[in-house]
């Protein structure tokens, strides 16, 4: 089984991050059950599947299909479902997405949505899809592009930017923490507060999206070819690690003309960060080998950030069906590091066990999908959000920005030291008569 999440997972991540939106999937009923799984493994506070009596707060719908439905075309069941959801949730925007089987059955989802948009006065957003091989990043990108296209407000032109392309936020520990950290730096540097930040899980205003304003675009969800944006686009890096955070801040500072203040913030923050991470790096982190697992941009950011802490990423699993010529993937590739693109679970586990046995790797940093395998191999784990959680942190645990890097260093140190202690303790105990 491949570890990279699928197109629908990306769509659900995006839907989860837009509180006023409901999704209708042109998929068999069992895809609706994905929402149950999502609530358990992605975001405890999400409730895509609803709570209590599931009548008022359910946010993902999919019709019941039979073989006859597929043979005759699924348009009718989809239309009934759109009608049902629109009637029962009159104030909400509906997002309609095709599934694997929907594409296979050649359902004209786009045509149907265009027809229903007129009836529902624009409350309907179509999330496109071209190939059966699209994955979760495509799902996120297409949903973001569709929302930025269809839910744009009539006014705009102010200096306050719109933020897009970020990994859709969840109200779980690390992502809430990341958003707080970015906003803290944003405030300190004196940038104008965002006019809208769609997909921020309701933590910041997400609609209407003003026109003709600058768009600050992060790489995961932003695809220049799909975003038809009238205003200026400021593409920035994910702020994971010192260099990437500085790069993001300086790029925005040039745009918003607060260079001097930003430099002062960078100086101050760097000093505080250095004091926090020095003992950790000296005692534990320097020379440590870890495995990293995540989407290409997060994996790249983590590798560079960990490198700044003196930690070597010896194995990188990239959760993306991409081609190796992608610049991000090319940047990841370096001697002594193994890259597994769109890995199978069994392959990644096997490699982890080998590295653990040879004591090349002591920890896994990244998505929780292999956390149980890592633990069985005796490795420490530091969960970094997307796509799944096993440990749902109630406290903010950022990994972006300066405070995020410090927190990441602390978590990694804690996990590794704890694991070393356990290993030592287990050895002692086994020697006992």
């Amino acid at each position: 089984m491949r570890l990279a999440p699928k197109y629908l997972d990306g769509v659900l991540l995006a839907v989860n991050a837009l509180p006023g939106v409901r999704a209708v999937l042109d998929a068999p009923r069992c895809e609706q059950e994905r929402a149950w799984i999502f609530d358990q493994t992605h975001d405890w506070r999400a409730e895509l599947s609803g709570a209590g009596s599931y009548t008022r707060d359910r946010r993902v719908f999919a019709p019941l299909w039979k073989t006859a439905t597929l043979v005759q075309g699924t348009e009718r069941t989809l239309a009934e479902m759109i009608d049902f959801v629109a009637r029962h949730h009159p104030g909400d925007t509906l997002l309609v997405a095709p599934s694997f089987l929907s594409l296979l059955a050649n359902t004209d989802v786009e045509g149907l949505v265009a027809e229903w948009r007129k009836k529902l006065s624009g409350r309907l957003v179509f999330v496109g899809r071209e190939s059966l091989d699209e994955d979760w990043v495509d799902g996120i990108r297409r949903t973001q592009a569709a929302v930025f296209r269809d839910l744009r407000g009539p006014r705009g032109g102010s200096r306050a930017p719109v933020v897009g392309g970020f990994l859709p936020f969840r109200r779980e520990g690390d992502e809430t923490g990341n958003l707080e950290e970015i906003l803290r730096l944003w405030r300190l540097a004196g940038f104008p507060p965002p006019a809208a930040w769609p997909f921020s899980a309701g933590l910041l205003p997400d609609s209407p999206i003003p026109r003709h304003t600058p768009l600050v675009a992060f790489p995961i969800g932003f695809d220049a070819s799909r975003f038809a944006w009238e205003g200026e686009v400021i593409e920035v890096e994910l702020p994971i690690g010192i260099d990437a955070t500085c790069s993001m801040l300086r790029r925005l500072a040039r745009k918003f003309r607060c260079t001097r203040r930003t430099e002062a913030v960078i100086r101050e923050e760097s000093r505080a960060l250095a004091d926090r991470i020095r003992p950790l790096c000296e005692r534990t982190l320097a020379g440590l080998g870890v495995a990293v697992l995540g989407d290409p941009w997060t994996a790249d950011g983590l590798c560079r950030a960990l490198g700044e802490l003196g930690v070597e990423a010896c194995l990188v699993g990239v959760l993306r069906r991409g081609n190796a010529a992608d610049p991000v993937l090319a940047r990841l590739d370096r001697p002594g590091r193994q890259i597994l693109l769109d890995p199978k679970r069994a392959d990644f586990e096997r490699e982890l066990r080998r590295l653990a046995r040879n004591r090349i790797c002591e920890a896994v940093v990244g998505s929780a999908v292999v956390a149980d395998a890592a633990r069985q191999a005796g490795l420490a784990t530091v969960e970094i959000s997307a796509p799944h959680y096993l440990e749902h942190f109630a406290e903010p645990t950022p990994y972006m920005g300066f405070a995020g890097l410090a927190r990441l260093a602390e978590r990694l140190t804690n996990a590794v030291e704890h694991q070393r202690h356990l290993a030592e303790h287990a050895r002692k105990r086994s020697r006992r008569p």
Binding site: Y7, E33, I37, T67, R345
Partner: protein, 695 residues
């Protein structure tokens, strides 16, 4: 897959007779039931009238009264005891023993007449009396309906009309209705046999379905919205179809819809995933099929949460499982080379005893021949390759899955008297399983196999080594293993209710001790319980004075009256033993009366329940408002986390809070007491109220 053959009603009555130890059970045209017994050479007849009649004997816990003919007093008493204890499960939601269950509902003579008013007795196209299949109900223009029975022995039509309108001769009257045979195509010479006298059953059913004074109505109410009483909607409305599919729960539902208790895809895959290396699993999915998600730890969804009481088995790491996710090009081409290679690899492993190929909708759509591939690999390697299909409506149910998996059982092995199989009680890795492994040897038995939901290939191979198998009689478990059980015709099967709660646990171990041939099974079972009694008693003290409440729609009463419907949990009995007081709030429209009286009768028949259960009838309004009026501190809900209970200042509990076994019973009690004593609901309500004031 479900059996396409119709249910033979004669067989149901025969099964009922066997259950009661009678030679036969015969429905009579006045609605009563005749049981035929034998006392030596003497023939004894017991008439059971569901209504009280002068001169009839009354037995506690049984509706109506009895008349005994031809028996000695001692034998009569024994018969009545047996009849009082005899219960049986009927398929298709049939219950020919039902009495006036829907008798508060106004009668409408339309095409839905049989489906709505005779649903316990007849099911169109699926029930037969002897050679007569009940074909359906036709509505006539003159506000009458025709019930049609047809088959090789001819056709019989029954005309049903309002009693007022039936003035001619030949009508039989049942409450507000009159019935007569309108067309009879039977051979007159053969009409005398019970199997041909379909009218006897029809009249019997009408007596038990309609009461005097039951109102007649011209039309049914429009089912635009689900009834708060949780009734099945009458017509096929797109909204209703969608609601069912959404698992949308009516506002007043605290019990799951029976549909949601079905074992679904995830459970099937869970069983296959948790198996040992003897089962080589090949999963062929599309790239985003939900089927492949359960390997995620802690993953759950509605049906997997509730279909079983225990958590879903998850992926046992280290075992080779072939997950095939064909890419676009392979899917469109219908390329099966990768699948074939995977099957060969799986079958070729030394440890493989059986290969399970799990297909999904994608194979259905692209037309992959799973069965053909499986047969080819089976021929090549000589190991069974079974196809567990999970495709749209071609859904291989768990009963068929278990039948396929138990192909590997070695049926030639002679049974050994001290070995037993346990089916449907616990996963192999669970607290109860550990407990059973410890206690069963103390009873002088050996645990041969512990199957359902877990599958272990060695245990499956040795299944026939046990002299008997103990089956969990809960409906889901029974259904799950029914087909597999039928493939072991010489094996003895016993049904012992699962060990939930103190008395059920003792009864469970007593049952096992009886199978082991113990001299005093009760004493042995009580000896097992004895170490747990002090802790149980301490918690029980804390439970006294605390009340637990249930919000019951009429349709939900079955879950409290028949534990088999609720995973074998006899909730009322368990909670009463724990020391809790119980409030049963029956949401009463006019249709709640029957449910309330059934619940009251159940409570009255059991001295412990009579002390602890209080039945309250409340009009249907907002559940939170109803709950707020009760002094109970715990509220039962199968939809946790249930905010309706929290908003009323109550903590909720769910079936999973009740754990099986000796230690499990004490743990359950402790858990419920802690939940009941939790101050959180009060704190939450206070904070919310403060928040409202602040705004």
């Amino acid at each position: 897959m479900s059996d396409p053959r119709p249910v033979q009603l004669l067989d149901l009555f025969a099964a009922l007779a066997r259950r009661a130890g009678a030679a036969a059970a015969v429905p009579l045209h006045d609605g009563s039931l005749l049981y035929r017994f034998r006392e030596g050479r003497r023939r004894v007849e017991v008439f059971h009238s569901p209504w009280h009649r002068p001169g009839g004997s009354v037995v506690r816990g049984v509706e109506g009264c009895f008349f005994v003919r031809g028996a000695t007093d001692r034998f009569a008493a024994a018969c009545l005891r047996r009849l009082a204890g005899a219960r049986t499960r009927f398929p298709l939601s049939l219950d020919p023993l039902a009495v006036w269950e829907d008798a508060d509902r106004p009668v409408v003579l339309d095409a839905d007449f049989a489906r709505v008013h005779l649903r316990r007795f007849l099911d169109a196209g699926r029930t037969a009396w002897g050679p007569f299949l009940f074909a359906g109900c036709d509505a006539n223009e003159d506000r009458t309906v025709t019930l049609v029975f047809e088959g090789p022995a001819g056709r019989v039509d029954f005309r049903v009309a309002p009693s007022r309108a039936a003035r001619e001769e030949g009508w039989r009257r049942f409450g507000p209705l009159a019935v007569r045979i309108a067309a009879d195509g039977r051979d007159p010479a053969a009409v005398g046999s019970v199997a041909r006298r379909v009218e006897t059953y029809v009249y019997y059913a009408f007596h038990r379905a309609f009461r005097p004074g039951q109102p007649l109505a011209a039309a049914r109410p429009e089912p635009a919205h689900a009834s708060p009483n949780g009734d099945v909607p009458f017509r096929d409305d797109p909204d209703d179809r969608i609601r069912q599919n959404l698992d949308q729960v009516p506002e007043h539902a605290f019990f799951l819809d029976p549909f949601l208790r079905r074992i679904g895809t995830q459970e099937t895959l869970g069983t296959l995933l948790a198996a040992d290396e003897g089962l080589a699993l090949v999963v062929h999915t599309d790239q985003e099929c939900t089927t492949k998600l359960p390997w995620l730890k802690s993953c759950g969804h509605l049906r997997s949460l509730f279909a079983r009481l225990h958590p879903l088995p998850t992926h046992a790491s280290g075992r080779e499982i072939e997950w095939l996710e064909p890419v676009q090009a392979q899917t469109i081409r219908g390329d099966d080379t990768v699948l074939l290679r995977a099957l060969r690899r799986a079958a070729g492993r030394r440890k493989t005893r059986i290969v399970a190929l799990m297909g999904t909708c994608v194979g259905d759509v692209t037309g992959l021949d799973y069965e053909g591939l499986a047969a080819a690999v089976e021929r090549e390697f000589g190991k069974p390759v079974v196809v567990i299909g999970q495709m749209l409506e071609h859904f291989v149910e768990m009963d068929h899955t278990w039948e396929l998996l138990l192909q590997i059982a070695d049926r030639r092995r002679p049974p050994e008297a001290d070995r037993i199989n346990l089916v449907g009680y616990a996963p192999a890795e669970s607290d109860l399983a550990d407990e059973l492994r410890g206690t069963i040897p103390r009873l002088g038995l050996r645990l041969n196999a512990l199957l359902v939901p877990s599958f272990h290939s060695r245990e499956a191979r040795d299944f026939a080594r046990a002299a008997c198998t103990v089956l969990n009689p809960a409906r889901s478990s029974t259904f799950e293993f029914a087909r597999a059980a039928a493939t072991f015709p010489t094996m003895r099967f016993h049904r012992i209710p699962p060990p939930f709660g103190k008395s059920a646990t003792i009864a469970f171990y007593r049952g096992l001790a009886e199978l082991a041939g113990a001299k005093d099974p009760q004493a042995e079972a009580e000896a097992l319980w004895a170490p747990h009694e002090p802790e149980f008693a301490a918690w029980q003290e804390r439970a006294r004075g605390v009340r637990v409440c249930f919000l019951v729609r009429p349709g939900d009463a079955t879950c409290l009256l028949e534990p088999e419907e609720l995973h074998g949990l006899d909730l009322l009995r368990i909670l009463a033993e724990f020391g809790f007081g119980i409030d049963l709030v029956v949401l009463a429209g006019p249709e709640g009366e029957t449910a309330r009286s059934r619940l009251e009768r159940r409570a009255a028949a059991d001295p412990l329940l009579a002390e602890t259960v209080r039945t309250i009838r409340r009009p249907v309004r907002e559940p939170t408002a109803i709950l707020a009026t009760l002094d109970a501190r715990l509220c039962f809900s199968e939809f946790p986390p249930d905010r309706r209970a929290l908003e009323a200042g109550k903590m909720f509990f769910q079936p999973r809070d009740i754990q099986p076994g000796l230690a499990g019973t004490v743990r359950s009690l402790a858990r419920l007491v802690r939940l009941a004593e939790s101050a959180f609901p009060g704190t939450w309500c206070r904070l919310r109220r403060a928040g409202v004031r602040h705004r």
